[in-house]
């Protein structure tokens, strides 16, 4: 049942690659340097996980990059869908969360996903409760950059 941090990172990377590169054709890659948004308006989109592994997945990115991603999703001019940006980024996080959940099910974890929530926010708004671990991945490429974060706590089972 237990899954270690490296395995979670591997599953998260696989999920992100499938959504951003394979599906959206945005060729982003994990980068070692921290992503800085330098005063730009940023969005934070999250999906809660509950079950044998509790936690949440978060995506933080600038509003400008959120527009670019949703523009790619809809194949449309960003000016045509202002009200859809929060919804579209929520759907991106939802797809990454779904794939991560499916990947973690290979380790025996059973979880339920919450409904995506998107709001204005920064990386530090994505809190790590006491006793939870955090994975953070910085991504860049195709003219966009973002931070993917996953906070989690595994249920303890007696053997």
């Amino acid at each position: 049942m237990a899954v270690n941090n490296d395995e979670i990172i591997s599953q998260l990377k696989a999920a992100a690659e499938k959504v951003f590169t394979a599906n959206l054709r945005l060729f982003v890659r994990p980068v070692s340097c921290d992503i800085e948004f330098e005063g730009a308006e940023t969005l934070l989109s999250t999906v809660d996980f509950t079950g044998s592994l509790d936690g949440a997945l978060g995506l933080c990115l600038s509003s400008e990059n959120a527009f670019k991603i949703v523009s790619k999703m809809l194949d449309a001019d960003p000016n045509q869908f202002t009200c859809d940006v929060y919804d579209g980024i929520g759907e991106v996080v939802n797809m990454v969360a779904g794939l991560l959940k499916n990947g973690l099910s290979l380790y025996g974890h059973k979880m339920q996903l919450g409904i995506p929530k998107t709001r204005e926010g920064v990386e530090n708004d994505f809190r790590v409760p006491e006793g939870f671990s955090k994975v953070k991945l910085n991504y860049s490429g195709s003219g966009i950059s973002f931070i993917l974060m996953f906070v989690y706590k595994q249920a303890i089972y007696e053997s």
Partner: protein, 128 residues
């Protein structure tokens, strides 16, 4: 010509699905619902006109599984084919959906390609 109903809480995902259906050459009118509650309301009025339902799983209020389970118990609508389009892609979830509705005609895990969606719809309803 029967209508296609898209039940999906993300307005962006609904737009993507509708666009794929229209660009694939299906001329069916499309009904859109943002959750299972709205879908039930629409179906109660238009059930005889609907020929296919595309349904997400994780939605607020009544989720997709609850919706298809309810649809399976209504004689007038249980014959309408349903395709699940969802992030819930584990074998366990697929099996759960199949048990919930005997007329589950397809299961498309997100993210999906336009080609995949077209192929599955093609297999259920003829292009007009």
């Amino acid at each position: 010509m029967k209508k296609i109903m898209v039940v999906e809480d993300s307005s962006v995902q609904r737009k993507i699905i509708v666009k794929i259906i229209q660009e694939a050459g299906f001329k069916n009118e499309i009904l859109e619902a943002g959750d299972g509650n709205i879908a039930i309301d629409i179906l109660s009025e238009h059930y005889s006109e609907v020929g296919l339902i595309l349904c997400d799983w994780n939605m607020p209020n009544i989720n997709g599984l609850e919706f298809i389970r309810a649809a399976a118990n209504v004689p007038a609508v249980k014959g309408i084919p349903i395709i699940m389009v969802t992030t819930e892609g584990t074998d366990e979830k697929i099996s759960e959906a199949k048990k919930a509705h005997p007329n589950l005609a397809g299961y498309i895990p997100k993210p999906f390609t336009p080609q995949k969606l077209r192929e599955v719809i093609d297999s259920v309803i003829p292009k007009n």
